[in-house]
């Protein structure tokens, strides 16, 4: 993922030769390597399952790879992934900079709202989007009032690109914003004092320092895009995931083979990003002092800045919410006025909402802890295990949820004890979530750990601080914003996860998303709208409580 905005960093004189950085690193301690290795093996469960299925069934991934019925969808997947990664890299970075580094009005509110489009399950978000923007939709009604006849229709490559860009830019926005908040403002301040314009400061100082956050975010977007099914299905854009989905029952060997091709594509993309970002040779901040950040006055760029942030929120958050509200509120009105009564009551919302919240918080915490050893290996030590485990964790993000769910059953049923004690438990559900979404925490964690200066560690050691004390007093304060951002991503993704939850959750463990799915299946749109609104509001509350407020607190 060498997305364009990261390229200027290559030329900066400030970037040190990358080799020296690696050479100067210490050998990794054995417990850390062992922990990362075990985590890596656990994350490889879905990939191993997929390999096993391909080997034991008469599937033919190589033969498929050369047939046009695979190559066309594959090409579309790649085109879409490149476009969405590029646009989210630009949009996410711009939004992060505007809300973290400038005097843009309403920054605190924007910070709560901007991550939220991630809360829409794509099957809901895309359907709501269509309901609002397509012919005969809400925007249409609104425009007709002012005399505009609007016949614009979202579909195909453009529709899929737009919806995915709007729903995935938080993958870039969140880590970049976290990164910016932990960067010292002194360099920007000096640049401005020496006469650099705001834009040139951004290009020469901010971009190089956030390049790794941008590329790791864009990498997640890229993997999400090649694995997405909901948006491409509703926008009728025929990608590899759709071929996997349509063949999954009628022709399982083909479906497994296509999934294997998807996984190989993911591994190639992840390896490519690693090589690319190594060549970028990002410079670490000279000194991290989050208490002194720098605010760029926007002046005449205030209005365009507000327009970008407001426009993004309007399209990505408000437009789908309008459709949900329209469905939900008209259902409530009909219910109150003696029309069709709602098929859900308060307990149908409260129980699933509670299940959703606590299982997602637990999954987010476990995911952060699980990826931490790998993040430390990657950021601080010379290690072979680190990069391999890292690639496994991140590539798994491109696995279709169905494969992850089937892998859970495959592995628990291999062993009598596991089959009896683990199948259908929350333990396996949380494990599946962590495996599916751990990648989202890894990028952020790695950047956070890398931002801790070695000298600080050395000084603490010289002063006699033990390793645990160093962790609590040196690392924790510095890495917390990054870890929170990573955990926040996992949290939002888990709250809206569908295929794994449907198959792996214990009996009688409804979540908001499984309820929304069922509502949509039988066209209970009022119920779907209400439940989806609860999901989005809860996601917003949790993001604020656990991520934004705490990060602000650390400013």
């Amino acid at each position: 993922m060498e997305s364009s905005p990261a390229n200027p960093a290559r030329g900066t004189a400030a970037a040190g030769p990358p080799d020296r950085r690696v050479e100067g690193r210490k050998q990794a301690p054995l417990p850390l390597t062992a922990a990362a290795f075990i985590v890596g093996v656990l994350f490889a469960f879905p990939a191993l399952y997929l390999t096993w299925r391909n080997v034991t069934s008469d599937s033919d991934p190589l033969g498929l790879l050369t047939s046009s019925r695979t190559l066309e969808p594959l090409r579309r997947s790649v085109v879409l992934a490149v476009l969405v990664s590029a646009s989210t890299a630009v949009l996410g970075t711009a939004l992060a900079w505007l809300t973290a580094r400038t005097d843009l009005p309403g920054r605190r509110i924007w910070r709560v709202l901007l991550p939220l489009p991630l809360a829409y399950p794509t099957f809901v978000g895309a359907a709501a989007f269509i309901r609002t923007l397509n012919p005969g939709g809400l925007a249409n009604d609104l425009l007709q009032v002012v005399g505009i006849d609007h016949t614009f229709e979202l579909r195909g490559l453009f529709g899929a690109w737009l919806v995915l860009t709007l729903f995935t830019y938080p993958y870039v926005y969140l880590p970049v914003a976290a990164r910016l908040r932990s960067l010292p403002g002194s360099l920007e301040e000096s640049a401005r004092l020496l006469g650099d314009s705001g834009f040139s400061t951004f290009r020469r100082i901010v971009l190089p320092q956030t390049a790794s956050a941008i590329t790791s975010g864009a990498l997640l977007v890229c993997l999400y895009t090649i694995s997405d099914f909901g948006a491409v299905q509703l926008m009728r854009y025929d990608t590899l995931t759709r071929a996997i989905w349509t063949t999954r029952l009628a022709d399982q060997p083909t479906s497994f083979a296509l999934s294997a091709i998807l996984l190989v594509l993911a591994v190639v993309v992840v390896a490519g990003e690693r090589i690319g970002s190594r060549r970028l040779g990002e410079r670490r901040p000279a000194r991290t002092n989050p208490s002194r950040s720098f605010t760029t006055p926007l002046n005449r760029w205030r209005l365009p800045g507000l327009a970008l942030v407001g426009g993004t929120i309007g399209l990505a958050l408000v437009a789908p919410a309008a459709a949900l509200a329209d469905w939900g509120i008209s259902g409530l009105i009909r219910n109150a006025t003696g029309g069709r009564s709602l098929a859900i009551n308060a307990s149908d919302v409260v129980g699933p909402a509670w299940n959703t919240v606590w299982v997602s918080v637990v999954a987010a915490c476990v995911a952060v802890v699980a990826v931490l050893p790998t993040a430390m290996l990657l950021a601080r030590y010379r290690s072979r295990v680190g990069p391999i485990t890292g690639n496994v964790i991140i590539s798994t993000f491109a696995m279709p949820g169905l494969i992850v769910a089937l892998a859970m059953f495959f592995w628990t049923l291999r062993n009598n004890w596991a089959a009896e004690h683990l199948r259908g438990t929350l333990f396996v559900l949380v494990f599946a979530y962590v495996v599916r979404f751990g990648a989202q925490a890894l990028g952020a964690a790695q950047i956070a750990v890398a931002a801790v200066p070695d000298r600080l560690h050395d000084s603490a050691r010289v002063l006699g601080a033990g390793s645990f004390r160093r962790l609590a007093t040196v690392d924790a304060p510095l890495v917390t914003p990054g870890l929170l951002a990573g955990g926040g991503l996992v949290l939002l993704s888990t709250m809206k996860e569908l295929p794994i939850t449907l198959l792996v959750a214990p009996f009688d463990f409804p979540t908001l998303t499984t309820k929304i799915f069922q509502s949509f299946e039988d066209a209970f749109v009022a119920e779907a709208g209400l439940l989806a609104m609860v999901l989005v509001v809860l996601s917003g509350a949790l993001t604020w409580l656990l991520v934004v407020r705490r990060a602000d607190h650390l400013d």
Partner: protein, 364 residues
Amino acid sequence: MTKIEDSSLRRITATVLAIAMAASFTTACSSDKRELSEKAAAIVTGECRDERNQTVTIYSGRTEYLIRPIIEAFACETGIDVRVRWGNSTDLAILIGEEGTATEADVFLSRSPGPVGFLESRGLLGTIDDEVLSLVDPQNRASSGSWIGFSGRKRVLVRNLDLVSDSELPESVFDLTEDRYRGRVGLPATNGSFEDWFTVFRDTHGDEVATQWLRDMVANDAEYYPNNRAIVEAAGRGEIDMGLVNHYYQYQEAAAAGDAHRAENHDFGPNDIGSLLIITAATILGTTKDRGAAHELLAYLLSPQAQLYFTNQTFEYPLGAGITPNSILPALTALEIGSVDFDSLGGGFEETERIIRESGILTG
């Protein structure tokens, strides 16, 4: 700074612990509730029986909204405990295929016959006793006795009332390839019930006719939609003029959106392949540990009270107990899906999937 962090770490740990404790507490006291919902109470004809210490596990591709009241009523009237995994029929069938003989499912309820055919080809289905099989007509069950239909959905054409006049309505699906329908028809080409419908289409008219029809539809700029609901919703908004769907989404959309939903169902002529009845199927897994309880459940699905519920509450076609369809439903014609021998189709679904994909409808 560090002090703040120390305490905040502790606070996070405390929060997680509290949440975990609260969670285990709520799960511990949420069991053993035997209150009936209003809808379930309306189905129950007798009294609730004491629990019998028997459990049936259902994997249900039919959603909670439509089926749960019947399951609650069943649990009440028989005293049999029921566990349900709700999901998509296709994914649940794949899951049972993955679990194999270790599956926890006793009964699988499918929205359409395709996923059932998949399980049958894997040899995972048991045989349903004649006593239960005889509750429906032979054309609505498998001749092998592996599955039984318990409700029906009819294929219809949904149309926008402002964009399609009465005189323009086709008499047959074959008319839809004419020029006057160019770019106006939506097809849910990857939807399970469409695939099943197309499989029967191939069986009835032959592969050549069916394949040609689909190609002609693509040449006539038919629009792909991911599912029935999306077409009904789009027709109601006027995004598309008409589309081939299952009949019953129209009732839910109309109930939810009221007059703003400008669409109506149109029934093709009698004996037209376009008005096929697609049945929802119930099966018993070969590995069930309680065949008796599973059979009781299937029999309950076909009982008069359950069949009445299906036609009056979910607007489906009843298949058993001599119940007549709700009068708002279009009349049934002779053509019902069970009249086609699914068992003889063999790799029918795989071939259907291939023909649909190669027709180019997905990339249109």
